[in-house]
């Protein structure tokens, strides 16, 4: 398996606080990898640096061998990285369809007009929002907003999909649907890096897990082995436990 994303010595400093400290790991093409760790351990910050929302203080991020650290988010998006956000980000004044259309219209090469409208409908269908493209996005329930956000990320047909606690906040039935959805993405060959607190989902989805604590990686390996690791258990049961 070839590495799709290769992170080496990644650091992010916010003033005096080192949120991410010398983090290195690799995600291979077609893998679903979990990024775990207690609250405040730096997971979202790592995703932010991969997607370009934040520039790293130092370190390298290579996407299929190409250095992307420090590029703007729109340029990284064009190279095939899409994401969802921990606090779901919808475009409230737009319709559900336009929310998805936005990702089609500005990817490389863009999809626009009739082709885009057809694609939007298919994506909404796949995600469980079929026929609801004309509704206003801010009238959707929380779960449907999350669905829409994922449809927007998938519209970009990314090589690498970043999911930041996309499954949290779902009820048990919705969780099963969500897990199924991500599994279908894996079958289609997409590479996924996901931050998640729901261990059931991590076990069902991820072959490998990387665990962070206070900005550093404390474990990296097959999911079952990592979850049994003494350091990991200590980190999760410590004061930071969420």
């Amino acid at each position: 398996m070839t590495a799709l994303i290769e992170i080496t010595g990644l650091r992010k400093q916010f003033g005096g606080l080192t949120a991410v400290d010398d983090v290195s790991f690799v995600v291979a093409e077609g893998e679903i990898v979990a990024l775990l760790g207690p609250n405040g351990s730096g997971k979202t910050t790592v995703l932010n640096m991969i997607s370009g929302a934040l520039a790293p203080t130092s370190g390298a991020i290579r996407l299929a061998g190409e250095e992307i650290a420090g590029l703007g988010p729109h340029r990284i998006a064009h190279k095939g990285v899409a994401r969802t956000f921990q606090l779901v980000r919808i475009l409230p004044s737009l319709t559900v369809g336009e929310n998805v259309m936005a990702a089609l219209a500005f990817r490389h090469p863009p999809v626009w007009g009739g082709a885009a409208e057809a694609r939007v409908e298919t994506l909404l269908e796949e995600i469980g929002l079929g026929g609801r493209g004309a509704e206003r996005a801010d009238n959707l329930t929380y779960i449907d907003q999350k669905r829409m956000e994922l449809a927007r990320a998938l519209a970009a047909e990314p090589r690498l999909l970043l999911l930041d606690e996309w499954l949290s906040g779902l009820n048990p039935t919705e969780l099963q649907v969500g897990i199924e959805l991500i599994l279908s993405l894996r079958r289609s060959g997409m590479t996924v890096l996901l931050v998640e607190h729901i261990m059931e989902a991590v076990r069902a989805l991820c072959s490998r897990a990387v665990v962070m604590n206070a900005g550093r990686t404390i474990a990296d390996g097959p999911t079952e082995a990592v979850l049994a690791d003494a350091d990991v258990i200590r980190a999760y049961l410590g004061e930071d436990h969420a």
Binding site: G72, R83, P92, A102, P110
Partner: protein, 319 residues
């Protein structure tokens, strides 16, 4: 399809009627029409950029003045259409430089910078004319009648509003809506925010430059304090805000009544004109920041809701 065709026929007819109007008026009427169309174009062009981005620009007169001055400088050396082309090119270049330098400024800093820019350009031109050319003013002797200026402005206004209509349906229009809602999402779906803003600023500034260039022959004599008068920036801004800078017809609906009002005020209260202008400015910004159109629409929907609520009192409880 039929509706689109009817709309095209309607607007072509309206434009023809407007083009025919000067034949019904004397010189004063033509002057009034010309000034009004100038401000409709300025306000519409201003809103093209400032409406969706919410960047309040006070640089209107900087570009307007650049257009007028280009005509004044070149009026005896180049044929008229070429002068307009040069003016547009100069406006575009200045807009690109200014845009690159300032579009990262947010909020009030942008407002202050654009105001400063207009003053800076005025001072630069004044300094150049006094120290290098040796005279402050310039004469423009171009054989262009008031009607001809009016027709050019009318065409430019139509192009500007047409452009606004087209943008609303294009990818760039969607990009603007996404940026307006959430810049983080916009960047993450692949929108180059800086480029979209710069493109819009440049288009808006170029049109404004052309308004200045087209109107220049009207003055015969120009000097910096005339063509770089900051009142032009403020008027443009409150016209667009009054009508609603986020709507296609908003700036036009704001420009027409305000232009007539200011004409009347400056004729009848020449001494209190600035004070009244200032008060109106404050009133519009505070009372109707979204514009009259939005206010009317909200009023309408409230009336509609009351009507609906009054009818089927029982149905809602049943659901």
């Amino acid at each position: 399809m039929v509706r689109a065709l009817l709309a095209v026929i309607f607007f072509a007819g309206a434009l023809a009627a407007l083009a025919w109007l000067p034949t019904q008026f004397g010189a004063y009427g033509v002057g009034l029409l010309l000034g009004m169309t100038g401000y409709v174009t300025l306000a519409s062009a201003w809103a093209l950029f400032s409406g969706p981005t919410r960047y309040v620009s006070l640089a209107t007169v900087a570009f307007f003045g650049i257009g007028a001055y280009t005509v004044a400088v070149l009026s005896e050396t180049l044929p008229y259409p070429l002068i307009l082309l040069v003016a547009a090119a100069v406006g575009l270049c200045v807009a690109l430089v200014v845009g690159l330098a300032t579009l990262r400024l947010a909020g009030v800093y942008f407002v202050i910078f654009t105001f400063g820019l207009a003053e800076l350009i005025r001072q630069l031109v004044t300094w150049y004319e006094v120290n290098i050319t040796g005279t402050l003013g310039r004469y423009i002797f171009l054989p262009i009648s008031g009607e001809q200026i009016y027709w050019q402005l009318l065409a430019l206004a139509a192009v500007t509003i047409g452009l606004g209509w087209w943008i609303g349906r294009s990818r760039i229009g969607l990009a603007l809506k996404v940026i307006g809602d959430d810049e983080v999402v916009a960047a993450h779906v692949g929108i180059n925010i800086a480029r979209v803003k710069l493109a819009l600023f440049a288009v808006s500034a170029t049109i404004i430059t052309l308004v200045g260039a087209i109107q220049a022959p009207r003055w015969t004599y120009v000097e910096p304090s005339i063509v770089f008068n900051p009142t032009i920036s403020f008027l443009t801004l409150i016209m667009a805000l009054l009508g609603g800078a986020n709507r296609l017809w908003g700036p036009l609906l704001g420009a027409v009544p305000l232009f007539l009002l200011f004409e009347w005020l400056s004729a009848n209260f020449p001494n209190h004109y600035s004070i009244i202008l200032g008060l109106l400015f404050i009133a519009i910004v505070f009372v109707m920041p979204q514009g009259v159109l939005a206010m009317v629409e909200r009023g309408w929907s409230r009336v509609g809701q009351r009507g609906r609520k009054a009818e089927p009192a029982g149905t809602e409880a049943a659901q």
